[in-house]
């Protein structure tokens, strides 16, 4: 009991030090901010009281129903509270971003209103009275799609909705053949229209028409759709390229025995440890020499080094985890090595290849340094570089535009991530088990 008391006193002392620390740090003029005196203390006490109350209620409930589980009940109730704190902290930036993107105020320094919700008055959240779609309208205003691209956009949305519907129907009524057929059709329509859209949109479609009927090329903050298209194109091609080149290598490593296998494997691993950006000057020099600066080809090739090594390594691991008996049967039946690879291994590893593609796709989407060095013209920029042009320089006047662009730019990856959530996060779960 004494040890507990000592711990308690030390905890109190630490908490007591916090206000002192806060005074020491308070060097910024605080008159500009809305301050609740000792707000942190109120919040802390409030949280402890609420959590304690809920835990106590759970404990009492548990003691009345299942006495030996009462402690667990209290603990679980408190866990809910703790996790909600984490969730709120995690989601706060996302909610704030969404709110800003749907707000008329474009300036970060817009003064908060005098009345209304406490958080709104403090400027923590934007004023809901200024709700507007103007940021999105600005960002998209100069995007002039051709009629067939509008059709494709429509198809994309319809296919997406059909797909969601089909998945839900499948969950309530599994095993229906027609639903499955509809789902497959929707998937193909989705992929097809997305690919054609990405390939067909180009820089010349971004202009505004003035009163005299002349076309003015857009400034870069109105080209977000183009940036997204560029990023999707580069990421998609890098992923496809990595998968196409590395499958044979992964197969050779997994299934063939030859001299130099171990050293080659080691070489692949070492290369994988050096992503292209570490040799950034050399990549820049090489691409300059090859005349591939400011081209997607150059960027994709620069990514390919790390991508191929990584993809071969994963594919090798996958092949080693499945039994070779299937191909051996085919080989005994007279198939060639290549035939066995092409007709048996590739078809059965399509889910794995998709997984490798997605990993590469998501990784490339967020790459910054090489894209920043190699892509110089704003018609070639990726989303990250485009956003950077809003944050450096004219930042204070571009906050709303940035938020709307950020939301639009995040959507593709968000959709892909949650569509394949289990596959994408499961590997680390499995990795943890193995380690």
């Amino acid at each position: 009991m004494k040890a507990h008391l000592g711990r308690f006193i030390r905890l109190c002392a630490c908490l007591g030090l916090l206000p002192l620390v806060s005074v020491a740090f308070a060097q910024i003029d605080r008159s500009r901010f809305l301050v609740i005196p000792y707000g942190w203390l109120r919040l802390l006490v409030g949280f402890i009281v609420v959590t304690g109350g809920i835990a106590l209620a759970a404990y009492l409930y548990g003691r009345a129903t299942r006495p030996n589980k009462a402690g667990t009940y209290a603990l679980t109730a408190a866990s809910h509270m703790f996790i909600w704190v984490f969730i709120l902290l995690t989601l706060f930036p996302v909610i704030n971003l969404l709110a800003v993107s749907f707000n008329r105020a474009n300036n970060l320094n817009t003064p908060p209103p005098r009345e209304g919700n406490l958080l709104v008055r403090a400027g923590v959240l934007p004023n809901p009275e200024n709700f507007s779609l103007v940021q999105y309208r600005t960002v998209l205003s100069d995007t002039n799609l051709f009629w067939y691209q509008w059709v494709l956009v429509g198809l994309l949305v319809v296919a997406g909705l059909v797909l969601i519907g089909a998945i839900f129907t499948n969950r309530t009524n599994p095993g229906s053949r027609s639903v499955e057929r509809v789902r497959n059709a929707a998937i193909w329509a989705l992929i097809g229209s997305a690919v054609v859209l990405v390939l067909s949109i180009n820089n010349s479609q971004f202009y505004s028409v003035n009163e005299a009927g002349e076309r003015n090329p857009s400034s870069s903050e109105k080209k977000v759709v183009l940036f997204i298209r560029n990023t999707l194109l580069v990421s998609g091609l890098t992923g496809l390229f990595a998968v196409a080149i590395s499958t044979t290598a992964g197969y050779a490593f997994a299934r063939m025995k030859f001299d130099g296998r171990y050293s080659t494997l080691l070489g692949f691993i070492f290369v994988q440890m050096f992503p292209g950006f570490m040799a950034l000057v050399a990549i820049f020099y090489l691409m300059n020499y090859l005349g591939l600066l400011n081209t997607f080809t150059g960027l994709i090739l620069a990514y390919s080094g790390g991508a191929i090594a990584f993809a071969s390594w994963i594919f090798k691991g996958y092949l080693e985890s499945i039994s070779p008996s299937l191909e051996e049967a085919a080989l005994v039946d007279g198939a060639t090595r290549w035939g066995a690879f092409w007709r048996i291994i590739l078809p059965i590893s399509i889910p794995m290849l998709l997984f490798i593609f997605l990993l590469q796709f998501i990784g490339t989407y967020s790459e910054f340094i090489l894209a920043n060095i190699l892509l110089t013209g704003d018609d070639k920029w990726t989303v990250g570089i485009g956003l950077r042009s809003f944050t450096s320089g004219r930042f204070a006047t571009q906050w709303g535009t940035l938020a709307a662009s950020a939301v639009l730019g995040s959507l593709p990856i968000l959709i892909i991530f949650y569509s394949f959530q289990n596959a994408l996060t499961g590997q680390y779960t499995a990795g943890g088990v193995k380690g």
Binding site: V21, S22, I28, F33, V35, I36, Y38, G39, I83, F86, I87, T90, F92, N96, L108, A249, M256, K257, D259, G260, Y262, L265, L266, F270, M273, G276, F277, M278, L280, V281, A282, I283, Y285, L286, Y289, G291, L292, L301, G305, A309, L331, V332, R337, F341, S366, V383, G384, L387, T391, L402, S410, Y418, Q421, T425, Y428, T429, G431, G432, V433, G435
Partner: protein, 536 residues
């Protein structure tokens, strides 16, 4: 075919699939031969392409190389069947050699050069100086200061230069038949005129005619001039493609060249090339010389950042995962889905959004802190708050991953261990510290080491959030408060404040290579990732 199942499967496999049978060097030599042929074909194709279409992009050559490669591989495979495994590896190996290994080698080479924005081996347009007179191999220029010889390593000696043949010159022609214009004297070396101006005597004014071909002293015009022309007075326009020479010395306004210029032409201007070459260990001594102001602080912060961010993320990740691992917790999958949102958003975008939140006067972070009466910091304007901001944002970005990985590791801990602990009378706290944490450690060590290696070079986070800043007193303009090694190298190489010192940037990259190798070796030693492979 009857199959005798007592024999090993390999007896039935087709030839050329079992392995190279110890012929490693032979295989590599054959591959090298094929690649050499392909490389030769690449250069020949490139040369031919540039002869036919001047200015053809260099990568055209690769198409020819690819064709040659496929043909030579076919021929080799017919003769040496056992080489097949290498064929499966060849595409990857080729790309790795070109776009992964070669840049590393190039980095090592460039680290020993003074390659820079003003030393890039290219034509320096701003050094263009007018030529006043030419005498054999000596050229008198209007102002030799424009050549800026002092910016070069050994002055202008042994530096290449281009001498422009005068933009327009007046020559005499002998005859005009249709579109063929014959000049009195053959064209000068290096001069490829594009336009002639002819005085049309019938009409009384002059007109320009494009030249489609120039051979010796005969020019072929695009269209025939109408009526008579003044043959005595032909204006010849030469685009600025000039004669290339090497400068030997510059003395006053006199430039001595290695070869005399052809006589009889008017020369407009001389433009020098930028030089760049090996400077030994000069880049490394430069790094060491400012070790106290740049290398030291940057390296220490780099290490501190990588270690502390991994520690913080792991602590929070484990904490959250232990809560979420509670089987009695309802909605735990829903909670998990909400908590991994930062992982699902592209970090390249969210980091830049965080920059807005961290704005000291108007950002949501400071407004929230002020609302709670907590200390308000100038997050991006001062060194230590900026470092804190980086750790905070990286926690937000990395927590979902650590949480998921820890949940995976937790689910692998057998339930009966907890059961045994419970029977032995351990309470919740003792079960966490006695069972969960020790078993987690083995699973988390590889993850944290990978996280360390990743964060050690986490350029995107630093560059997009703080840009390496803020600067501090006593630091340099390229290695500021939150710069890590890789962003320092970037600043030296690609930011104007670093003077585009590519060589210095490469030297820093080389240091990063060594550190990364060391970290990875430790990683392999600890995790034993390669052990099972080496036994095969």
């Amino acid at each position: 075919m009857t199959v005798d199942i007592s024999r090993p499967v390999s007896d039935y496999l087709p030839k050329g699939s079992g392995g190279t049978g110890g012929r490693l060097w032979k295989s590599l030599l054959l591959l090298l031969l094929a690649i050499t042929i392909a490389a030769g074909a690449t250069f020949i194709t490139l040369w031919l392409a540039q002869q036919i279409v001047p200015g053809a992009p260099p990568y055209i050559g690769f198409l020819g190389g690819l064709a040659a490669l496929i043909v030579s591989l076919q021929v080799i495979a017919r003769r040496f069947e056992w080489i097949m495994p290498w064929y499966y590896l060849l595409p990857s190996i080729l790309f790795l050699l070109t776009f992964a290994l070669f840049p590393v080698v190039l980095t090592i080479i460039l680290a020993f050069t003074d390659y820079a924005g003003i030393r890039n081996g290219e034509l320096n347009i701003s050094s263009r100086t007018d030529i006043v007179g030419v005498q054999g191999n000596t050229v008198t220029v209007a102002d030799s200061a424009t050549l800026r010889c002092e910016a070069l390593r050994d002055g202008c000696a042994d530096v290449a230069a281009v001498i422009d043949v005068s933009g327009t010159s007046t020559v005499t022609a002998t005859s005009l038949e249709g579109t063929a214009l014959t000049l009195a004297e053959p064209l000068l070396e290096g001069a490829s005129p594009s336009v002639v101006t002819l005085e049309l005597t019938d009409i009384g004014f002059s007109a320009e005619f494009n030249i489609t071909a120039a051979q010796g002293n005969t020019l072929t015009l695009e269209r025939a001039p109408p009526g008579e022309v003044d043959l005595e007075n032909v204006g010849l326009e030469v685009p600025s493609e000039g004669i290339r020479r090497t400068m030997l010395a510059v003395d006053g306004n006199t430039v001595t060249l290695d070869d005399p210029l052809p006589e009889g032409a008017t020369y407009a201007a001389i433009t020098r090339y930028n030089d760049f070459g090996f400077v030994g260990v000069q880049n490394f001594t430069a790094i060491l010389r400012q070790a106290g102001r740049a290398l030291g602080p940057v390296f220490l912060w780099n290490l501190l950042f990588a270690v502390s961010t991994v520690l913080i993320n792991t602590v929070f990740g484990v904490f959250l995962a232990i809560f979420l691992n509670n089987k009695d917790l309802k909605f735990r999958n829903f909670y998990r889905t909400l908590l991994i949102i930062p992982w699902a958003l592209p970090s390249i975008i969210t980091i830049q959004v965080w920059k807005g939140f961290l704005n000291s006067n108007f950002g949501a972070i400071n407004r929230s802190l002020a609302l709670l009466d907590l200390p308000v910091l100038d997050w991006l304007g001062e060194v230590w708050p900026a470092r804190g901001a980086i750790l905070l944002v990286n926690l937000w970005l990395g927590l979902p991953f650590m949480m998921t990985a820890t949940l995976g590791a937790l689910s692998a801990i057998p339930e009966d261990l907890y059961e045994a602990a419970r029977i032995d009378g351990a309470n919740v706290w003792q079960r966490v510290t006695g069972v969960t944490l020790p078993l987690l450690r083995t699973a988390l060590v590889p993850i944290t080491l990978t996280g360390f290696a990743f964060n050690f070079n986490n350029f995107g986070l630093i560059f997009l959030l703080t840009g390496g800043g803020p600067g501090y007193e006593g630091g340099t303009s390229t290695a500021r408060g939150t710069d890590i090694l890789i962003s320092w190298a970037y600043n030296e190489a690609f930011q104007a404040v670093g003077g585009y010192a590519y060589g210095l940037g490469s030297a820093i990259s080389l240091l990063i290579f060594f550190i990364t190798i060391a970290v990875s070796l430790v990683n392999f030693r600890v995790t034993g990732a390669l052990k099972e492979e080496s036994n095969i």
